[in-house]
């Protein structure tokens, strides 16, 4: 462990905390991760700070746990897995370095939240391809690095999108910039030449950003990222389609994405949609939920600068043809919710309190990737598991997000529970393991493993795990970067 005085010497005293109350906040999160107290919290402000911290940690063998979002945290990846760790809290690095309308890209530090970045890019007519209702304190960089699914599959060409380039300090202490940002030249020199640190691949024959994304801070500490942006539409028309089952909706989804008709395109069950739109406590939520069909597809048609009315008219006509062909019907209102109002909600971070916490105070998420045709079977299986464990399936939140322009979908179950109720919490914990195991057995792919099941998920692909360990050995030979996560 690096002595605090040393840390204060390389940073600033106020950026190093040993306060037990502060340390306690970082000992746990809202997941079932074991509580382990860090030794200190450091708050770097620059990449130089980060590099110094990493070098010190490397020399002393001090585990580092990088965090970029503000609390609460949910996945366990920001809780130390081992004693003697230092939390590297980057949430104070809040510079939006550049917003480039011409090249549709923004470059920003890890502490920038969705609300902050959204406001900045909208000033120049851009928007982010966002995840669904991130919490207010969620770091955009953190979300991108976690490979969170985004709500506009049309603009999700690759699972890594919209992440562009990354500046990272590896566990070796080396500063590295990925993609176009690697060089030649400084960032400013690249701008002067017309560059914008947007191309993510490379440099040359490796795509380093992919090795950093999804690593839960085990490869290095990211000091800025760039993200590809899309245009703010001139016109938008949002619609719902309701159904008693996901399958008919997924058929419509396939064509809406395939024909590039829809921008936002996602499915929620009535539980999740009801919770999202209800801000008025359990009764309000129940009323809304009961007014909705079990499954709801939400999507948006959009038109941009050129002849937007004609564009919208044409897309609407084509959309109607899709719904006709797939035997469903789109509507502007479902129950007591208007699609237009939901669009505003969906295009922003969650209002406070965070929507997942409103119902019972906490939520355990189970999420995985699968294909359109397997989805309904997997959902049914999870629901059966829940019912069997005494957790009413009707209380499960379900969110389905088509991704990668329709190549697969993210499926997420939300198990809401009262964290103060220990038996309920334990039941949810056991149920979460049971559902996960059942899903794995049925072919669900847990591409982003967290928590209790990480070991099992990583063990299923021993060859990949072995390869990842080689990568880890390259970039973090002393295993100081968030040890104990994934397979490290």
């Amino acid at each position: 462990m690096v002595p605090p005085s040393t840390l204060s010497g390389v940073l600033r005293a106020r950026d190093v905390s040993l306060d037990p109350d502060v340390l306690e906040q970082y000992s746990a999160d809202l997941s079932f991760a074991h509580r382990i107290r860090p030794e200190c919290v450091v708050r770097p402000r620059t990449a130089d700070d980060v590099q110094r911290i990493v070098n010190l940690a490397r020399e002393s063998g001090t585990p580092l746990v990088p965090i970029s979002s503000g609390p609460p945290h949910f996945r366990g990846d920001t809780v130390p897995s081992t004693g003697g760790a230092a939390i590297v809290d980057l949430s104070g690095m809040k510079k939006i370095v550049r917003v480039d309308r011409k090249n549709r890209v923004a470059l920003f530090e890890p502490g920038v939240t969705f609300g902050e970045l959204k406001a900045a890019v909208e000033k120049v007519g851009l928007r982010l391809n966002m995840p669904l209702l991130p919490r207010a304190s969620k770091s955009v960089a953190g979300s991108l690095l976690e490979r969170e699914p985004v709500t506009m599959p049309k603009y999700h060409w690759d699972i890594a999108d919209p992440l562009g380039c990354v500046e990272v300090v590896f566990g070796t202490g080396d500063l590295f910039r990925t993609g176009a940002a690697a060089g030649s030249g400084t960032i400013e020199e690249q701008w002067a030449a017309g560059g914008a640190q947007k191309e993510a691949a490379g440099p040359s024959s490796a795509s380093w950003y992919r090795l950093i994304q999804g690593s839960q801070g085990t490869m290095g500490i990211v000091t800025w990222v760039s993200a590809r942006c899309e245009l703010l539409p001139r016109m938008e028309e949002s619609l719902f389609i309701g159904s008693s089952r996901p399958d008919p909706l997924m058929r419509a989804v396939h064509w809406l994405i395939r024909l590039r008709l829809a921008n936002e395109c996602l499915l929620l069950n009535n539980t999740s949609l009801g919770l999202i739109v209800s801000e008025k406590g359990p009764d309000g939520y129940q009323r809304i939920k009961e007014s909705l069909p079990p499954w709801i597809l939400f999507f948006t048609l959009a038109a941009y600068d050129y002849f937007p009315e004609q564009r919208m008219a044409g897309q609407t006509k084509d959309m109607i043809e899709v719904t006709r062909r797939t035997g469903v019907q789109a509507t502007r209102t479902l129950g007591s919710i208007t699609a237009a109002a939901f669009l505003k909600t969906a295009q922003s971070p969650s209002s406070e309190p965070y929507w997942k916490l409103r119902h019972k105070g906490n939520c355990q998420d189970i999420f995985f990737l699968t294909t359109f045709d397997k989805l309904e079977g997997l959902i049914f299986g999870a629901q059966q598991c829940a019912d069997a464990a005494g957790y009413p399936a009707s209380e499960l939140g379900v969110y389905i997000q088509p991704i990668v322009q329709g190549a697969s979908c993210h499926c997420e179950f939300n198990l809401f529970y009262d964290p103060e109720n220990r038996s309920e919490a334990e039941r949810v914990r056991e149920l979460s393991v049971a559902i996960t195991k059942s899903l794995i057995a049925r072919g669900a792919f847990f591409s982003r493993p967290y928590g209790d099941m990480t070991g099992m998920i990583m063990n299923r692909d021993g060859a990949s795990a072995a390869a990842l360990k080689k990568v880890k050995a390259m970039v973090d030979p002393r295993n100081i970067m968030n040890p104990g996560k994934l397979c490290f």
Binding site: G194, G195, S204, S205, A206, R210, V471
Partner: protein, 519 residues
């Protein structure tokens, strides 16, 4: 060096006698120089043997034998470029010709799975029957459909159908040590739809904007994203070689070829077209490429180039519009017309006036069947400059700069004079771009030395000095050592990848990187 008898027998045990040969008669044709940057030597140095595995397991066995015997291997699919060559003594050539299956076409989930020797035309034709399509490698539909086979894998349809680095989903990879790693969902749940995870994505190892060119093992199957195709299940091609033409262009399809008063105006147009999301293809072909594509002989090429050049006001692009419906098509055409008015784009007269000629061009550029004409017919060889992937304007500016150097070579009579106009392209609706400078020349030592001794070094100097990123032509130790120190020392990390995954250097890395002492 020749394979020891026991070594040959070991390979034979794995593959069968008909699938291995060390006979010079079999090896020499592989050694015949590639037309890409044809140099002084007609044949690459003799290598040990050529093998024809039929499965990933056979590839694995071959790779393990190479590790055991201290040999190297170089795998290739259709084997066009010089990076496919087994570089000399001690190297086994792995010809993946027998691995030629389309494993799966999954329409619901918009991906296809192929083995390395499925060529682009095969996959595209099967997809078209189902109302689907795929990006075709720009070098040609004669190349592998594997999204990680081609040097870069950018193609004519990348505007709407991206390219290899982005289209690749799950991958089956025989590592240089002979392990089989199945990336993403393939390794965890035996499905092809995702190439990433669990955790970090190993796709980051296996390629970047360019692929490792045979230096990091063998890719034996891959899934690639596929896209909607609003056209007919087969193109109604008529005629006899070399003049094929569809009887008509499909309904709701259009092709145009426009020149612009300046690169600024072309850039503005491509930007607007990208933001409007109207183009199926947007390719910055110059007049030389258009004439070479359309002509069926060099004589005709020369004549057409002279004619087209008269009408070209500046840099050009070709655009194909395809509507998913009549309304969609009308809208897209309306937007294109407006953008052309705004940016001064003018159609090149006579080029596409004849509907049959236009339809033929459209099909050739959809199928990418005539890239060979564009670059190789003149002399059987071409060189030039392959830029990287980055912002369109940045890449165009780079190629424009290197074009000046080409001008010098033209003046000195060292290369074919087809002008110095850049070849650029836009992909993912203008989010990115790419540029190339095509230099055609009759192979001779003077030109070759000028290209490798002057032109490429100058191109490298320009890229580094003026911050144009790492171009696609950068491969091999020497080139990486030029760029690496200016680009986050990426070459050192690449070496670490090589060292970690290929400790014995079995995967012949002359076009990737080799392990060296970092001191």
């Amino acid at each position: 060096m020749a394979l020891a008898k026991g070594q040959y027998a070991a390979f034979e045990d794995v593959l069968g006698p008909e699938n291995i040969s060390a006979d010079p008669v079999i090896l020499y044709p592989y050694s015949w120089r590639s037309g890409l940057y044809a140099g002084v030597d007609k044949f690459t140095p003799r290598f040990e043997a050529a093998v024809l595995p039929g499965s990933a397991e056979e590839v694995q066995a071959v790779v393990r034998l190479c590790n055991r015997f201290g040999l190297q291997f170089k795998a290739s699919s259709t084997g066009w470029g010089p990076y496919n060559d087994a570089s000399g003594p001690g190297v086994i050539k792995i010809d993946l010709r027998r691995m030629n299956r389309i494993v799966e076409i999954n329409e619901t989930n918009m991906y296809a799975v192929v083995e390395p020797y499925v060529v682009g035309a095969q996959l595209q034709a099967e997809l078209m029957k189902r109302g689907l399509n795929c990006n075709q490698c720009g070098a040609g539909t004669n190349c592998s459909a594997l999204p990680i086979a081609a040097h870069q894998g950018i193609g004519h349809m990348s505007q709407s159908a991206s390219y290899g680095e982005r289209n690749q989903l799950a991958l089956e990879w025989v590592t240089p040590e002979g392990d089989i790693i199945r990336l993403g969902s393939l390794g965890s749940s035996d499905e092809w739809f995702c190439g990433d995870g669990p955790g970090p994505s190993l796709r980051g190892l296996v390629r970047g904007s360019v692929v490792p060119l045979g230096g990091l093992g063998v890719y034996t199957k891959a899934a690639t994203k596929i896209y909607h195709w609003p056209g007919p299940p087969t193109f109604p091609v008529e005629g006899v070689s070399p003049r094929y033409a569809p009887s008509r262009a499909p309904v709701n399809f259009s092709i145009g070829f426009y020149s612009f008063p300046s690169m600024d105006k072309l850039d503005e147009a491509q930007r607007k077209i990208g933001e409007s999301e109207i183009a199926l293809e947007l390719m910055g072909f110059n007049a030389a490429m258009a004439s070479a594509n359309m002509a069926t002989s060099n004589e005709e090429d020369v004549r057409l180039f002279k004619e087209f050049s008269k009408y070209v006001q500046g840099p050009c692009f070709m655009i194909i519009i395809a509507g998913n419906s009549a309304d969609d098509f009308r809208y897209k055409m309306m937007v294109l017309e407006q953008i052309l008015v705004e940016t001064g784009g003018k159609a090149i007269p006579k080029l596409l006036d004849d509907p049959r000629v236009a339809a033929a061009c459209m099909w050739r550029w959809l199928r990418s069947s005539a890239s060979i004409r564009e670059v190789f017919r003149a002399s059987g060889c071409f060189g030039g400059e392959v830029g990287g992937t980055d912002l369109f304007r940045l890449m165009a500016d780079y190629i424009f700069e290197t074009g000046k150097m080409k001008g010098d070579l033209i003046e000195r009579g060292l290369v074919y004079d087809d002008g110095i106009s850049p070849f650029t392209q836009s992909f993912e609706h203008g989010h990115f771009g790419h540029g190339e400078l095509l230099i055609r020349y009759m192979p001779n030592p003077t030109t070759f030395m000028a290209l490798v001794g002057e032109f490429l070094p100058q191109a490298n100097e320009t890229a580094v000095r003026d911050h144009f990123g790492v171009p696609g032509h950068v491969f091999g130790d020497a080139a990486h050592e030029i760029y690496g120190p200016h680009c986050s020392n990426y070459h050192l990390w690449l070496r670490r990848i090589k060292g970690a995954f290929d400790p014995k250097g079995a995967s012949e890395g002359s076009h990737y990187i080799t392990v060296k002492d970092e001191q």
